[in-house]
Subunit: 198 residues, 2 copies
Amino acid sequence: MVTTSKKSERVPSANLNRRVERSRHAILTTAFELLSEGGVASFSVDEVARRSGVAKTTIYRHWPTREALVIDACSRMIAEQETPDTGSLEGDVTAILVEIAHLLPTANWSFVLPSIVDTAERNPEFAEIHSRIQRGHAAPLREVLQRAVGRGELSAHADVSTIVAALLGPLFYRRWFSREPIDDPFVKAIIKGVLASL
Amino acid sequence: MVTTSKKSERVPSANLNRRVERSRHAILTTAFELLSEGGVASFSVDEVARRSGVAKTTIYRHWPTREALVIDACSRMIAEQETPDTGSLEGDVTAILVEIAHLLPTANWSFVLPSIVDTAERNPEFAEIHSRIQRGHAAPLREVLQRAVGRGELSAHADVSTIVAALLGPLFYRRWFSREPIDDPFVKAIIKGVLASL
DNA sequence: ATATAACGATACGATACAGTATCGTATCGT
DNA sequence: ACGATACGATACTGTATCGTATCGTTATAT
């Protein structure tokens, strides 16, 4: 996105303007907020302009279409999660799932994700974003599982994808489908069940 | 919805008109189709009128608002599923999950459900519909689990809700989140894992 | 055969939204 | 200080939608 040029001395601003940065930030922040509240469907450029105080003209100076802005805002919603290293598979998995269980009812992205999933059902661009978000969620689990294989704690034949689904699936199910609370006993029961059957 | 009156002889039509029935059916069929294609957000009464050939005026004679029509159409999307009785818990659970695994990538409701989930996140009426759909999905599982408890095949202390989440969660996860195929080996692996840890 | 109810066609008002155009002003880098 | 650039305000076009109003036509039950 950053303009690169061979003759960097005549470029108006090698590092972006402060004003531009301010505008973009204000717009994106409001876009986040709006997405969290109403999802992708009810997102409108006019409303972003109203709330952010930035003129609609300026928004269209930075993003060519509404679609582009929504996609940009969604892309920055990917939850970066740290990968724990407790030494044991059970410890790692527990740390990850407890963290997710804590985020699921509160984090902003958990309110927007259904909207993205829905849109992704018919829109390839959103399918791509969704895929990236998804990989982000599963990445720490995949890593600790691979490590467990390396330590010999887990069979090299174990199907990591299946285990991830068995661990994350029930939590996601409770958040968006059965809408039951995701408390500690539940998380522990899921972990115990999955690890016991390996 | 059916009009009941004490003086049934003076009522214009005790059993509804054929015309009314035809109109309602044409409208609902088109509404289904439209929902399957674009979800709740992109659903419009004008489009239903265009496709069904039924005048918009007529649609509003039967449903007071767009909202009411969408809700009615969604309500009829609940998948009725039969409860198997193979004699063993594993047999019953397998029958149910294989059936769901087969429906998930194909059934109409699977394309609309994300949209309903998303809408339910902010709209109580849709939350209610979603809840009914959800109970419908889980009902057969709950029943065979209860039966297993009755037979002594399953401890009376077993947490049925947790087991349902452990079984359905991974399948739903693959359909809408990781978007991986839900093949027979996967389903079997999930069932084996859950039942083994009881 | 006829009255009643349902229907179709069309037009309408109100609102929301995407995206563009214009023009004057404020801010930035130098 | 000054020129380039970004910004704000406003207005505008075009479209989509909801929901209503009107009125003539058709199907229905009896």
